[in-house]
Amino acid sequence: MRYTLGMAGALALFWIINSGHYSPLLLALGAVSVLLVTWIALRMDVVDKESTPLHLLGRIGPYFLWLGGQIIASNLDLVQRVWRREPRYQPQVARLPLPQRSDICRVVYANSINLTPGTLTVELKPDHLLVHALSEEGIAALEAGEMSRRVSELDR
């Protein structure tokens, strides 16, 4: 129920931000649309703690700030690799452990790896990730486990 309400709330917010017209007719149509979509989403069985991660909301902010820093750093690294006369990179493939138990955290972890340029999740298996990286440093940084630890903390 909590998740249903959360999703309906998010959808209503999406409608209001997009609409820009607040006549009674359009607001009523908006309410009907939100109800319809929520109903379809319930039928699709996509309303659960993964699609509406309310429990993460409090802790996700600081994580995104940290992730933003990582993204900028790895972008700068990639920029200097690309603009050399001879593009310099040493690709690596490695397996990483996947300690996160909940699907949402695994996805946050995998997509954080994807969002930082230079590392890319190729496969997400039940107990490990297959990661392709442009350099040994990229793999080493992931193996050091800071990102993994921070993602695990989200769920706690």
């Binding site: 999406f14 931000i17 997009n18 820009g20 993204i71 900028i72 972008n75 990639l78 920029v79 690799r81 690309v82 603009w83 593009p87 310099r88 990179y89 040493q90 690709p91 690596q92 493939v93 490695a94 397996r95 995998a110 997509n111 994807n114 969002l115 930082t116 340029p117 230079g118 590392t119 890319l120 999740t121 190729v122 496969e123 997400l124 297959l130 392709h132 442009l134």
Partner: protein
């Protein structure tokens, strides 16, 4: 005030454009499929964020910035996911990563083929 905003937005747009060019260059120069995928990643995260931020600073009414924010949010959701889907599809189809000359296959962790 608006002059400061204009300068800030110009800086964001300029940096974003530079990153876009970087990504395109990498996309053109890298020898291996997976490496090119990384180059796309550069252009898609930070450059998108910077350009959209630059545009947001240019708005004078309140609705467009919100829409831009939504666009940024959805791009940040979908672009890493698309990269992953693409890598997975290529892996499924038997494309294996190569070294930086695009000649030899990389050593894979034990158990992968």
């Amino acid at each position: 005030m608006s002059a400061v905003l204009a300068i800030l937005s110009g800086a964001c747009l300029l940096l974003g454009s530079f990153l876009l060019l970087t990504g395109a260059l990498g996309f053109l120069r890298f020898a291996d499929f997976y490496a090119r995928l990384h180059a796309c990643g550069v252009t898609e995260t930070l450059a998108t964020a910077l350009i959209i931020l630059g545009l947001m600073l240019l708005s004078d009414s309140y609705l467009p910035p919100f829409k831009l924010l939504l666009i940024l949010l959805f791009v940040l959701f979908s672009s890493p996911t698309a990269s992953h889907a693409l890598a997975k599809a290529a892996w499924n189809a038997g494309v294996r990563p190569r070294d930086n000359q695009g000649k030899r296959d990389l050593p894979l962790p034990a158990g992968e083929r």
